[in-house]
């Protein structure tokens, strides 16, 4: 196998799965078998590619050009490899959870569901491996379209309304702001390729780059920078596996990944730093972080609270990008990984609670931890990782981002990070504490839940795995940072 073939396989494997899943639609075990085989094959391909990229390889695959000017090309670099790695690894874990959740809740149209997830994964892989902005844009739209049937899976009025807002904001911002930004970039720089250190010629007007940076920041609606965030809480009408894989990992990370790509490869850190609007955007990100945390605090619905927590955590990455210093960008890259593992844990726990106990609100969770100790334990670990407490993975990006804020001379932004961490403690930890410490409201119910729990082990095991992952990743943060260093001009730190 050559890296080029592997690059093509990134798209081919999930797409084949998407074709095979409807074929095996009649026999659920075979159908889920396809997903797992594809997941393992995809992960193996990504691991192979990661090793190649770590060794300095930058595999490239040219498909053709269109409109006479644009190349449709894939090219993998460390940031993309990282995104591909988390999306593909968590696809496998999440597929286990999906199996438990969909069967446990007897959801309809499961075949369509699995097929759409596979297409969405293919689109995410395309985003990770895009060699230029225009290729990325096409996969970006493909991801929106393929996830739309997943958001509206239930098919009732509420799901349709949520799906409409989802599609409207994501398509609207990308067509109205992101596409003009890409064209503007092309017109000024003559290319949209991702090049270490940026593509704008020296002497480009800072007014123009300011406008472009703003267009990018709000055009990448998937990064959920306020005020483009309402799609995320609205997407929570989707079944929990979608929220877990797509709205904590693939879709939102595609957004912030694009943001990081634009800052490091299109503008380049030094130009971003020189662009006046980066400071304003850093402040908007900081406000987003705190404001979303405050809103999260007021949500009683568990998934809604997690959604606003995601909005807040995504802005960490936007903030890191807009700081435009090595520490900030690496911190943002690290946050993509750590937040993915932490937040998917929390969502899967929420899904497990819904599947086993049929509870959706935080106020109903009193004492449930005693009946479901593994789930609530995993939730606590995931929450601590999100908050950023050592020895959990989530602590490193916070540390890097604070260093980055100091490096870029905006030390005052540290206040926003600390405020958010405190708010995180207030809105996440009590959920677990309530489960373990408070007395159950209705012990008979809980006894019944303990009975049915045994049937649903496939919704319990996956969050435990990712919780352990969050812990293990703490010790590998150095490796990830070393892997990401080449994305910075001048070799990194």
């Amino acid at each position: 196998m050559t890296p080029q073939i592997a690059l093509a396989l990134l798209l081919i494997i999930p797409l084949i799965a998407a074709v095979l899943i409807p074929i095996f639609g009649k026999s659920p075990n075979l159908r889920e078998g396809v997903t797992f085989v594809a997941g393992v094959a995809l992960l193996a391909t990504v691991v192979y590619l990661c090793m190649d990229v770590a060794g300095g390889g930058r595999p490239e695959l040219h498909f053709g050009s269109f409109a006479g000017k644009f190349d449709f090309t894939l090219k993998l670099e460390p940031l993309g490899a990282t995104f591909a790695a988390i999306a593909s690894s968590l696809w496998i874990v999440n597929s286990m959870f999906t199996l438990g959740y969909m069967r446990g809740n007897k959801e309809k149209n499961q075949t369509r569901f699995y097929a759409c997830v596979a297409i969405a994964i293919a689109a995410a892989m395309g985003i990770a491996a895009s060699a230029n902005l225009i290729t990325l844009f096409i996969f970006y739209e493909a991801l929106t379209i393929s996830t739309f049937p997943l958001v509206t899976h239930k098919g009732d009025a509420k799901a349709k309304r949520g799906g409409t807002i989802y599609a409207l904001i994501l398509m609207g911002t990308s067509l109205a702001l992101l596409l003009p930004a890409i064209l503007g970039t092309y017109v000024i720089a003559g290319t949209t390729d991702f090049v270490v250190g940026g593509i704008f010629p020296p002497g480009t007007s800072l007014f123009a780059t300011s406008i472009l940076l703003i267009l990018f920041a709000f055009g990448i609606g998937k990064a959920a920078l306020m005020p483009t965030h309402p799609w995320l809480p609205n997407a929570m009408v989707a079944p929990t596996p979608v929220s877990a894989l797509l709205h904590a990992v693939a879709v939102v990370k595609a957004g912030v990944f694009t943001m990081l790509k634009v800052v490091t490869y299109t503008f380049g850190p030094s130009l971003t730093l020189a662009t006046p609007s980066s400071t304003w955007l850093a402040w908007i990100a900081a406000i987003s972080i705190v404001l979303a945390s405050v809103i999260a605090l007021r949500q009683d619905n568990l998934k809604a609270r997690l959604a606003y927590s995601t909005v807040s955590q995504l802005s960490y990455i936007t903030l890191g990008a807009m700081l435009a210093v090595s520490m900030g960008i690496l911190g943002g890259g690290l946050q993509i990984v750590m937040h993915a593992w932490g937040k998917i844990t929390l969502f899967m726990c929420a899904g497990a609670i819904y599947t086993i106990a049929h509870r959706t609100n935080i106020s109903q969770l009193d004492g449930l931890g005693r009946t479901m100790p593994w789930v609530f334990g995993a939730f606590l670990v995931g929450a601590l990782s999100i908050i950023g407490i050592p020895p959990l993975g989530g602590s490193w990006p916070k540390f890097f981002l604070m260093m980055g804020a100091v490096d870029s001379g905006k030390a005052i932004l540290i206040a926003a990070l600390i405020a958010s961490s405190i708010l995180n403690i207030i809105y996440l930890v009590p959920i677990a504490v309530r489960g373990f410490m408070k007395a159950p409201a209705n012990p008979e119910d809980d006894a019944h839940i303990a009975e049915v729990r045994k049937k649903h082990r496939w919704v319990i095991i996956p969050p435990v795995i990712t919780a352990i992952g969050s812990l293990v990743l703490f010790f590998f943060a150095g490796g990830i940072i070393d892997f990401l260093q080449p994305i910075l001009p001048g070799g990194g730190l």
């Binding site: 269109f66 409109a67 006479g68 000017k69 644009f70 225009i134 844009f137 096409i138 349709k160 799906g163 409409t164 599609a167 409207l168 398509m171 609207g172 067509l175 109205a176 596409l179 003009p180 064209l183 503007g184 017109v187 000024i188 123009a208």
Partner: protein, 507 residues
Amino acid sequence: MSFLDLVPDWLLIHGPAFLMALPLIMAAVTAILPNKRVAWTSTFIVTAILTLTAFAIAIYNAEVGTTIYKMGGWAPPHGISLVIDALSAPLVLLIALMGFITVIYAMPATVAEIKPNKRAPFYAAFLLCIAGLLGMVVSGDAFNVFVFLEVSSISTYVLVAMGAARDRRALSAAYNYLILGSIGATFYVIGVGFLYMETGTLNMADMARILADLDGGSRVAKVAFGFIVIGLGLKLAMFPLHAWLPGAYAYAPTPVTVFLASTATKAALYLLLRFTFFVFDPSYTYVADVLMFVLVGLGVVGMVFASLQAIFQTDVRRMLAFSSVAQVGYMLLGIGIATTASVAAGYLHLLNHAIIKGGLFLALGAMWYRFGITRTEDFQGLGKTMPLTMGAFTVLGLSLIGIPFTAGFVSKLNLVYAAADEGWWWAVGIIMLTSILALIYIGRVLLAAYFQSPPEIKGVVVARNEAPLSMLLPMWGLAIASIIIGIDASAIVDASTRAAELLLGTG
């Protein structure tokens, strides 16, 4: 070229005359044919032959370059010449092809919209309109252009008025169009009169030569240019001379709207190109001033205002009509920047927009045919009730907005690039802004079609009722053409670059 081998030599030589003569003669024949299928069949065969001829002529032109056909063997400037060059050849093909596509669509559409005893006259007027438009484009004689302009215009007034069987407002729309169209034609012919006074010739190439000798000519030439620009501006619906267009597009029979939207304003725009760059020259101060302040100015104002008006329309036909006015603004902007790249971009947008808008009106016509849809609110649930028609509408709508992999993207990109090359950043901004406005007015319809449920009539949800094949084929043909251009635009971009090089003498 294997295709040219199949074409008889006399057709290649006499092709320009044949293009006008065939529909003219057949229009007279069709008018007396029986009303039922026969009239349609004869029109179908005529447009098919015209398309093949136009295709052969276009290929032949690409091979041998400009050809001048002398009517009756009289040499210009005394005789009448027909000119096929890089500028007219693509437009000839466009008009013939859109005529052919419209006729396929017209078979079911006229059955629903035109009274049986009016169908043969309808097709006769349609053929006259094609003959007029083709004549306008190939004629190398300024007065002959006027004659053909009137042939096409008068037949168009008749065609628009035939919409009265469906909606009485068609009569007032046709009358409106008749008044404004006649004023436009009069302005044009006054301009040509002044030009004759100045140069003593009616042959365009001759005029160009004499005007160049006179260094742009006296005040008479300036006045002539003013009259011609305003006259053609009326015909091509240049903002704010577009008042006739929304009504005519909205209330004409749907096949007429399809054909008008994709050819009539385009032929007038072609004449504007011909006069500003070929007969006159942008090196004359007054031409440069008009380009800069009138065409660019009105073009940009039209782009913004007509797009805004489109957003607030409740009738989809009027919405698309205002969108057409806005799109004409793009073309005028491209022409007004007056570099090879920008004129090429304007010309490219002319061709692309003909495909896009023709297709959109076709899809809309199919929706009227099945469900009587004309208003934006009627679109609810169309994604379910007419998935194929709505699919074509979506593809073409996205192309109008300018999404990658569509024709609209290619022409807007080229225009943006040409504007930026000249440092016209404000124009780039306006193009982006109006694309967003297009996103809003198209998105609004798509939203209703895909995110709302089909309506209920007497408690029964409207069932799927797809358009007939003879409507689906042409609309998807145009939708696929738009995608193919979006992926590989080299042929059409080359053609428009050749046209621009011819006009600006940079080839």
